[in-house]
Amino acid sequence: MYETLNYEENGDIARVTLGRDRINMAMVRELSAVCDHLEDSSEAKVVVLQGTGGRFSLGIDFAEFRPDQPMDIHGFNKWEKICARVERLPKAIIAIIDGECHGGGAQLMLVADAAIATKRASIQFNEVHLGFLPGMATFRLAKTIGLGHAKRLIMQCPKVTADEALSLGLVSAVSDDTEAALSRTIDAFGPIHNVAVTLARRLLNESFSTDFENAIGNFLAAQHRAIHQTPFLETIRKHQDE
């Protein structure tokens, strides 16, 4: 069905396996089709993003750029749109990082709600060394790990080991038994209420760029939506039964 990735869905878990080392426009289009499915007709509560063959992703595929052709910014825009769509999916998003996770791969990892790394994982925002920019990781990374660390990772482009990524808070677990770690992570998410998860994530993502006065209006709007959904109504019903 897909050429650049593999998609499988088993009960609560949808798994997206990147099927090539580098991200090309075909992969962006197929990720978009996967998002269509996840938004429209998937009952999954968790989306797992992973690589294949001991590698998450090496980043953007430069083979699609031609030095004799005018540079095109719109492909980058399409990439940002797909990252933002993944980031807004009404599911919990978990990335499994085995081996190299560089450039665009690291950008994609950053939109996940949690990441699990194997011991041999190596995370690198290498774009600035290559003369361009790591997409909207420039916007997201400082929120995730703080401005000081983000400057070092994006401007000096070090390869970050699994253990360092764990201490930075870039990943939430390091394990070579990724399936066991995935189970633990999913358990930690607990009962995944899609609306609450999506609204909480949105408010958190907006937190650094919204002033308090606007943020509290946003929060009340989101909270009003949450407390009218089935999970919260069941919570108070249970509480009354006790």
């Binding site: 999506t198 609204l199 009340l220 709007a221 989101a222």
Partner: protein, 351 residues
């Protein structure tokens, strides 16, 4: 043969010349209640165009119901004339080319209505078909666009003009209560005229009005309403504090109803043209249908610059969207207005 859809050919807007910041109004009317003061300051409105009287030495305005009705009539004609002139000048038409005139207002009662007054004063033909929509509130622009667009489809090639004319400063009471404070900090005066015609598409970036979907919430019947205030001898507008949330939580139903019946998903909608009802209701819509701050940029900016302009607000946002120059052929948009009923009205546009 396919009947052509109605298309939005031009929009013109007008506001009275005097613009007041929220601070100006607090000072002019010597508003002392600190709760009301903070309500004005937290409204996310920078200024509003209003027709305000000179208050007495204590900051109290004295306008009885008769002078409010006179104000409504006078300024409806002034603003209507300007908005109509701006809409028509874009297309090279004059009022004598208009075959159907629909006028909307909720801020003053008159008989004969606005259509008759505009025909008398503004050069419309005496055989112009007309309809007046009175007292439907902020949502009424789409309640009017629906029959106007349908009239166009039934009369291809003929010109229809819809005029939303709200002189909100002709409907208020003045006291020291919070309820009055909320209402008096929110509404502004403004008029929007929109020209429609059913014709086959050409290359111009002119959207077709494809469909409408309504959703009324009878449980919230009294949430927004006019009350007669006998001690003032005037109408006052009542706005329940839960209105933003009640509207917000019901937004999904008409939006998804409109989209699914046209085989669309929310992600297919490039442009959201939403009534600038107030900051809280805009927030509630954002989080209930999952649209972004960028999607509501014009709605928020219209609120900031003008306040809530009632039925014509969404056309001010539409005008900004078109002037922004980012709309592309094939784009789809949803118009959404909310108001008393309580109700949510939606329309689907195809560029």
């Amino acid at each position: 043969m396919n009947t052509p859809h109605a298309r939005i050919l031009a929009v013109g807007t007008a506001n009275p010349p005097n613009r007041y910041s929220q601070q100006d109004i607090l000072e002019l009317f010597r508003v002392a209640n600190p709760m009301v003061q903070s309500m004005f300051k937290a409204s996310h409105i920078e200024g509003r165009h209003l027709v305000l009287p000179e208050p007495d030495e204590n900051g109290v305005p004295h306008e009885d119901q008769e002078s409010l009705l006179r104000k409504h009539r006078k300024w409806s004609l002034k603003l209507g004339e300007q908005a109509i002139e701006k809409a028509l000048s874009e297309t090279g038409l004059t009022t004598s080319d208009i075959d159907y005139l629909c006028c909307i207002t909720s801020t003053g009662m008159m008989l004969p209505g606005l259509t008759a007054m505009f025909i008398k004063h503004l050069g419309f033909r005496v055989d112009c078909h007309r309809a007046d929509l009175v007292g439907m509130g902020c949502n009424a622009g789409l309640n009017g666009l629906n029959p106007t667009a349908n009239w166009c489809v039934a009369n291809p090639g003929k010109n229809a003009l819809m005029v939303c004319c709200e002189v909100n400063s002709a409907l208020y009471i003045y006291d020291d209560t919070m309820g009055t404070g909320v209402v008096n900090s929110l509404f502004g005066d403004g008029c929007a005229a929109v020209l429609l015609r059913a014709e086959d598409p050409d290359d111009a970036l002119v959207p077709r009005v494809v469909d409408f979907y309504s959703h009324i919430i009878p449980d919230a019947w009294g949430a927004m309403r006019y009350n007669w205030a006998p001690e003032h001898g005037k109408f006052s507008f009542y706005l329940d504090r839960d209105v933003p949330y009640v509207l917000g939580i019901h937004t999904e139903t008409p939006v998804d109803g409109l989209l699914s019946r046209n085989g669309l998903k929310r992600r297919d909608i490039k442009h959201w043209i939403i009534h600038s009802g107030g900051k809280k209701v805009i927030d509630a819509i954002k989080y209930n249908i999952g649209i972004t701050e960028h999607d509501v940029r014009h709605t928020v900016n219209v609120l900031r610059q003008y306040g809530n302009l009632g039925s014509g607000s969404f056309l001010f946002s539409y005008q900004r969207l078109m002037r922004e120059g980012k709309v592309k052929p094939g784009d789809r948009g949803v118009m959404m207005t909310m108001g008393p009923g309580s109700t949510i009205e939606t329309a689907l546009l195809n560029w």
